[in-house]
């Protein structure tokens, strides 16, 4: 039976239809953020060659090729119009003075350098985890605030070799072999006021086949509050909430916890 082992050939299990998550940590930032839906990502190694030809007799014959330059490009197509993604395209800083209405300042940086990770989530073909410790992005596409189809933005990064290290690609076990892996922590959305409904989002995971939820008021689990939504009642005012999200698959479970909400208003 063909299985994606990424090692043994011939094996149709090694043919890949890729899916996965891209995480980027700008230099100076404490954490990675998820780039979101990317319909394509390409990694292009390049070299510049210097050829030598033997011209001692007859037709010149190439007898030596030397690599004089090595470089690598990563091109990503981003579909999610987040402030972080716009800042990658527009080489700007994100002003989060008002977190609900961030401002992206155009061209405040000469380029965007950071750490890029790719977590493969495909179930067709081998899963390769890619780690690029240093990459510098420059815009190579457009931002189309008006379009008839889903807009996308392209950014091209040049990999920086640090101490001779460009990056790595590591083969992962097929999905479902290990317990789910959390890439982006779950988070809670909603207005923190009695009568409103809060919603927990699972975050980003690789290998999760289902999720369960438990809401906590302070440090106490709220009995029966196991849905994605929780409606705040009068007794909740003055408290904070968080949710423990449990991801399941055939191999087992893994949990991740949201940050606390602000204090619930009456």
């Amino acid at each position: 039976m063909p299985t994606a082992d990424g090692v043994t050939s011939p094996n149709t299990g090694n043919l890949l239809i890729g899916k996965g998550y891209l995480l980027f940590q700008p230099s100076g930032s404490a954490s990675f953020y998820c780039v979101g839906n990317c319909p394509s990502m390409t990694i292009t190694p390049k070299t510049t060659l210097l050829d030598h030809f033997d011209s001692q007799a007859g037709t010149k014959t190439k007898d030596l090729t030397v690599v004089t330059e090595k470089s690598m490009e990563v091109k990503i197509q981003m579909e999610e119009m987040t402030a972080n993604n716009l800042s990658l395209l527009l080489l700007g800083d994100v002003d989060l003075t008002n977190p609900a209405q961030p401002i992206v300042n155009f061209f405040t940086q000469p380029s965007k350098t950071g750490h890029l990770k790719f977590y493969a989530a495909n179930d067709v073909g081998p899963r390769w985890y890619v780690d690029i410790p240093s990459i510098t992005f420059n815009p190579s596409g457009d931002w189309a605030p008006i379009s008839d189809a889903f807009a996308s933005m392209e950014a091209t990064g040049t990999v920086n070799a640090q101490g001779g290290v460009w990056g790595t690609a590591t083969l992962q076990l097929p999905l479902g072999t290990n317990v789910p892996e959390n890439l982006v922590l779950p988070f809670i959305e909603g207005t923190e006021k009695v009568g409103n409904t809060l919603t927990v989002h699972a975050g980003a995971w690789v290998g999760a086949s289902s999720f369960t939820y438990q809401w906590y008021k302070g440090v106490t689990a709220v009995y029966g509050a196991t849905d994605q939504n929780y409606t705040l009642v009068s007794g909740d005012s003055g408290n904070t909430f968080h949710v423990v999200v449990t991801a399941h698959n055939a191999a087992g479970t893994q949990t991740a916890t949201t940050a606390n909400t602000g204090t619930i208003a009456a």
């Binding site: 063909p2 094996n11 149709t12 299990g13 043919l15 899916k19 067709v124 999905l175 086949s209």
Partner: protein, 159 residues
């Protein structure tokens, strides 16, 4: 043996069986006639039609022997909703009831974690719109059909 196509269609039927307000849920039966053999007691009803399966990604040229690589396929099942016919020509509340079932079915399908897990990491649920019989030249009895595209990875070796 894992026939994921059949698993997905069975799950769709399970999802429909949990939609509130339906008196009957059927698979692959002809359009329910409110005055026909099935009887009015089973209305409003949902009918799941299997639809077609097509490759989203061609596997042409990928096989080293007879068996091709795993591929990504799209199923396009249809969900028909047939309402209880009204007793007069005014069709009171038919449009609203069709809209209500459209939302219920959509929410049930799009939020079903078991279906999402079944479709897998290379999978996808697409809602492709709906059609109703509320148009000139159609029956105007109270029917709506929702079209879905369910994409999943088909591993031939697991059949």
């Amino acid at each position: 043996m894992t026939d994921k196509r059949e698993m997905i269609l069975t799950q769709m039927l399970t999802i429909l069986q949990a939609v509130p307000g339906l008196a009957g849920v059927y698979r692959d039966v002809g359009p329910l006639n409110p005055t026909g053999d099935q009887g009015v007691a089973n209305l409003p009803a949902a009918i799941l039609l299997d639809g077609d399966e097509r490759p989203r990604v061609s596997t042409l040229g990928t096989s080293f022997g007879a068996v091709p690589s795993a591929s990504v396929m799209t199923l396009d099942p249809e969900v028909w909703i047939v309402l209880m016919p009204r007793i007069n020509m005014l069709n009171d509340g038919v449009g609203e009831e069709l809209s209500d079932f459209r939302v219920k079915v959509l929410k049930a399908v799009l939020n079903n974690e078991s279906l999402v897990a079944m479709l897998g990491a290379n999978g996808e649920i697409e809602y492709r719109g709906c059609t109703t019989d509320m148009k000139q030249g159609r029956t105007i009895e109270g029917q709506i059909c929702l079209f879905f595209g369910l994409t999943y990875a088909l591993n031939y070796a697991q059949l």
